[in-house]
C-alpha cells in the first residue's frame, strides 16, 4: 500500500508536469472529454466497470492514471447528488474530495453524500496491467520496474508495442531486464513467429524463478514443435535449480523457526536453567512484552504516527523493564520463599500465570490486538530462488543478538559473576559478601526481561492475545531441557536443531506429524543423553 501511495504521489507530480508542458488549454479539453468516461465508472456492475476501464485505457492518456489508481485502492467515490466522481479521502467523519483529472481539491462531503465505487480483485488486476502500460516511461526507475512487473503478470500481447518503445528508451540495466522479461511473457502469449518465441523462452529460462516456471509450464502444454521443446528443456532446468534452492530454503525456515524457539526459550534458560525455578509463568512474560509493544504502538499511532517505524526500538527497553519489574516482584513476593523446593515453584508460578493471563484479559480484552510491522519488517527479498521475508530475517538477527548479549552479561560483567557464584554455591557466595537475595531478584528479573523483549519480536509474527504465552511454554521447556539445563549454548544449539529438524520433516510428514516426530525424537534423545545435549560431566556428586 505504501508503495502504491508513493506511486500515486509520483503520478500526481508527473501529471502536473505534463499539464504544465502541454499547456492549460489542452489539459482542460482533455479532462473535459475524459470526464464523462470517468463518471461512467460509477455506473453498472463489475463487468461494466471493467469495460469502462478498458475505454479509459484506450485513450492512452496518462492523465487517467490517478483515477484508476484511486479506483484500485478503493478511494474513488461518486457524489450521490450529481453523479460526479471524485477521489475521496476520509477525514474524520467527512470526506475530502479531489478531482480525479485535475487533482484540484473540491471541498468536502458527508459520509452519506458519497458512495464508494466498488472494486474487486479482477478489476484490480485489470487496472494493474493497464497502469503498467501507462507508466512504462515514468522517470523513476522503481516505478518503471513496478510497471514492467505488472505487464509481466498481465502477459498481454497488446503491450508488446509499448514495451518495445520503452525498451528502446531504457538506460537502466535492471529495468531493462525486467522489461525484457515482461516482453517475453507477452510474446509467448501472442501469435508471433516461432523464433521470437524461442528467444522469449530463452529469456524466461534465464530468469529461472517460479513465475517464469509457471509461464513456461503453460507454454509447454499449449504450444508445439520447437517452442514446446525449448519450453520443456527450460522447465527441466528451472525445476532442477529450484529443487536445489529448496533445500537451502528449508534450512532457512529451520533457522528461522529455531530463532523463534530460541527467543521464546532464552529467558527460561535463565529462570529455569540457571536458577532452577520451574517457571510456568514464563510464557506470560513473553505475553507482557508483546502487550507492551501493542501499548507503545497504540500511543504512537494516536499521538505521533511519524515515529511508527521506530516503535519496536521504543518498545524493546520498555518491554524489558515491564517484564523485568514484574519478574522481580514475583521473585520477591513468591519465589524467594521457595528456593530449594523447585517443584513448589511449579505450583506457585502456575497460579501466577493464571492470574497474569486473566489480568491481561481484563485490561486489554480477550481478543487479538493489532501490532503492526514497521516498514523495515514488511515484505521480502529474493536471494537466488529463496524468498526471505524481512521480519523473519530480523528475528533471526535479533535472537542471535539477544543471545550474544546475554552471554556477555553473564560472562563478562560482575553481575554475571555474582549470578554464577550464587547459583553454584549460595552459602559460599553469601559468605563472600554477595547479597544473594538481590542477585536472585535481579537474575529472575533479567530472565523475565529477556522473555519480555522476546515478546516484542514474537508480536511481529504471532497473535497478541492472552493466550500468547501458553503457545510457547511447552516448546520453551523442551528446548531448554533438550539443550541441557543450565547451559545457554545448549539452548542455542537445541533451538536451532529442533527448528531445522522440524522444517525438514514438515514437507514429508505434514505439519502435525512433523511435530509429533520431533517430540518423539526428544523423548528418544533424552534416553541417550539423560542430561540433555550439553550435559555437565564430572565426578558425580552424591545425591
Amino acid at each position: 500500500m505504501s508503495c502504491l501511495k508513493s506511486l500515486f504521489v509520483f503520478l500526481c507530480l508527473q501529471i502536473s508536469l505534463m499539464v504544465g508542458l502541454a499547456g492549460p488549454a489542452n489539459a482542460q479539453s482533455d479532462s473535459e472529454t475524459l470526464r464523462p468516461l470517468i463518471n461512467e465508472l460509477a455506473e453498472g456492475k463489475f463487468a461494466e466497470t471493467e469495460r469502462q476501464i478498458g475505454a479509459l485505457v484506450a485513450t492512452g492518456d496518462p492523465i487517467v492514471a490517478p483515477a484508476l489508481e484511486a479506483l484500485s485502492a478503493g478511494d474513488l467515490y461518486v457524489r450521490k447528488s450529481d453523479g460526479q466522481v471524485f477521489i475521496a479521502e476520509k477525514d474524520g467523519k467527512q470526506f475530502k474530495l479531489t478531482d480525479p483529472l485535475t487533482l484540484e481539491a473540491q471541498g468536502e462531503a458527508g459520509r452519506r453524500e458519497v458512495k464508494k465505487i466498488k472494486v474487486n480483485n479482477k478489476l484490480r488486476r485489470v487496472i494493474r496491467s493497464a497502469l503498467g502500460s501507462l507508466t512504462l516511461m515514468a522517470p523513476d526507475p522503481k516505478v518503471r520496474i513496478a510497471a514492467a512487473e505488472a505487464v509481466f503478470k498481465a502477459k498481454d500481447p497488446g503491450s508488446i508495442e509499448a514495451l518495445d518503445t520503452a525498451i528502446a528508451a531504457e538506460q537502466d540495466a535492471n529495468v531493462l531486464e525486467v522489461m525484457q522479461q515482461a516482453r517475453a511473457a507477452a510474446v509467448l502469449n501472442s501469435d508471433l513467429e516461432e523464433a521470437e518465441k524461442i528467444a522469449a523462452v530463452e529469456i524466461l529460462s534465464e530468469m529461472g524463478n517460479r513465475e517464469a516456471l509457471s509461464l513456461l509450464i503453460g507454454v509447454r502444454s499449449s504450444s508445439e514443435g520447437a517452442v514446446q521443446g525449448a519450453a520443456a528443456a527450460a522447465v527441466t532446468k528451472i525445476e532442477k535449480s529450484i529443487a536445489a534452492w529448496d533445500a537451502a530454503q528449508n534450512i532457512w525456515y529451520g533457522i528461522s523457526l529455531g530463532s523463534v524457539l530460541l527467543l521464546a526459550a532464552i529467558g527460561l534458560a535463565i529462570t529455569f536453567g540457571v536458577m532452577g525455578v520451574i517457571n510456568m509463568a514464563h510464557g506470560e512474560m513473553v505475553m507482557i512484552g508483546a502487550y507492551t509493544t501493542f501499548v507503545v504502538q497504540d500511543l504512537i499511532r494516536t499521538s505521533m504516527p511519524e515515529l511508527f517505524d521506530y516503535s519496536l526500538f521504543i518498545a524493546l527497553p520498555l518491554a524489558f523493564l515491564t517484564a523485568g519489574v514484574i519478574g522481580i516482584a514475583i521473585e520477591r513476593g513468591v519465589i524467594r520463599w521457595l528456593y530449594g523446593r523447585p517443584l513448589e515453584t511449579l505450583l506457585a508460578t502456575w497460579g501466577i500465570s493464571l492470574i497474569l493471563q486473566q489480568a491481561v484479559r481484563s485490561i486489554f480484552g480477550p481478543t487479538n490486538r493489532e501490532v503492526g510491522n514497521p516498514d523495515w519488517m514488511s515484505g521480502a527479498f529474493e536471494l537466488g530462488q529463496m524468498t526471505i521475508t524481512y521480519n523473519r530475517m530480523w528475528i533471526v538477527v535479533f535472537a542471535l543478538l539477544v543471545f550474544a548479549g546475554l552471554i556477555l552479561v553473564l560472562k563478562k560483567t560482575p553481575f554475571g559473576l555474582y549470578t554464577r557464584a550464587v547459583t553454584q554455591n549460595r552459602r559460599m557466595a553469601a559468605n563472600m559478601g554477595i547479597r544473594t537475595p538481590w542477585i536472585d531478584a535481579l537474575t529472575f528479573g533479567l530472565g523475565s526481561g529477556i522473555a519480555g523483549i522476546a515478546g516484542v519480536a514474537l508480536s511481529q509474527i504471532d497473535n497478541v492475545s492472552p493466550n500468547l504465552g501458553q503457545g510457547y511454554i511447552i516448546d520453551s521447556f523442551m528446548v531448554v531441557v533438550f539443550g541441557g539445563v543450565g547451559n545457554l549454548w545448549g539452548t542455542l544449539v537445541g533451538a536451532m536443531t529442533l527448528g531445522v529438524v522440524n522444517k525438514f520433516l514438515e514437507p514429508y510428514a505434514g505439519a502435525v506429524l512433523g511435530k509429533i516426530f520431533v517430540l518423539v525424537f526428544i523423548i528418544l534423545f533424552i534416553q541417550k543423553r539423560p542430561r540433555g545435549l550439553f550435559a555437565l560431566k564430572g565426578r558425580a556428586v552424591e545425591a
Binding site: 560431566k537 564430572g538 565426578r539 558425580a540 552424591e542
Partner: protein, 248 residues
Amino acid sequence: MTRATSLLYLDGVSVAFDGFKALNDLSLTIDPGEMRAIIGPNGAGKTTMMDVITGKTRPDSGEVYFSGAIDLTSEDEAAIAELGIGRKFQKPTVFESHTVWDNLELALKAPRGPFSTLFHVITGAEKTRIENLLELIRLTDKSSELAANLSHGQKQWLEIGMLLAQDPKLLLVDEPAAGMTDAETAETADLLKDIAKDHSVVVVEHDMDFVRSLDVKVTVLHEGSVLAEGSLDHVSADERVVEVYLGR
C-alpha cells in the same frame, strides 16, 4: 598377590572427566579378610575409585575383578551390591524419612525384587538380626526415631549398621570419622576393627590419628595412582608422601 586369590583386584584403571584424569593407571589388590586404609589428599581419586568399584562410574580402561573372577566393570550398582560389596558414603546417606528400624530392615540381606518386597512379611529371625545390629551401633532406644532426627555421628553409625545388615564380603567405608567427636572417633575405630574380624574392609580416611588407631596396611593415592603402600610408619617416612601432604 594375584587376581585369582584376591578379593578385589584393580589393574591399570583410568578414568577421565572432560580431560581431567581422576584415576590414572591405578592398580590395587585387596586380599580376603584384609583391612586396608587408603589415604590421599583431596582430588587424589579416592571417591572415584569407590565409584569404579561399586559400578557408579565406568573406567575408560583397566580391569576390576571381584573374588578373582567377576568382572565388575560390566555390572551395575545393584548387582555389585548383591555380589557382596557394601559402601558407606563420605556424607552420611541414610533414608531420612524412614525410622532407624526401617533403614536397617531395608538394608537387611533379603530378596531384592519388587514383588518379593511387595509381599514381604518380616520374620522373627530378621527381627532378631535388626535388634542385634541396633545394639551393635548403639541405637536401640532410637529405633523408632526418624533417621532425619539423628545426630551426625549417629547417622554415620546407622550407615555402618546398614552396611553390616547387607552382610557384605567387602565393605568400602568412606571417611567414617568425618565430623565426629574424639570419643565417637575412637569408638568407630573399635567398631571397624570388630567388623574386620569377619569381613574385608577398605577405609578411606583423612584423619591420620584414626588411621593409626586402625593399625593396618596403608595405601597412599596421589593424582589417581598409588604413590606408596605399606604400614603407616613406612609410608609416612616416604619423602614423596611427605611432599604431597605437606608440600602444598
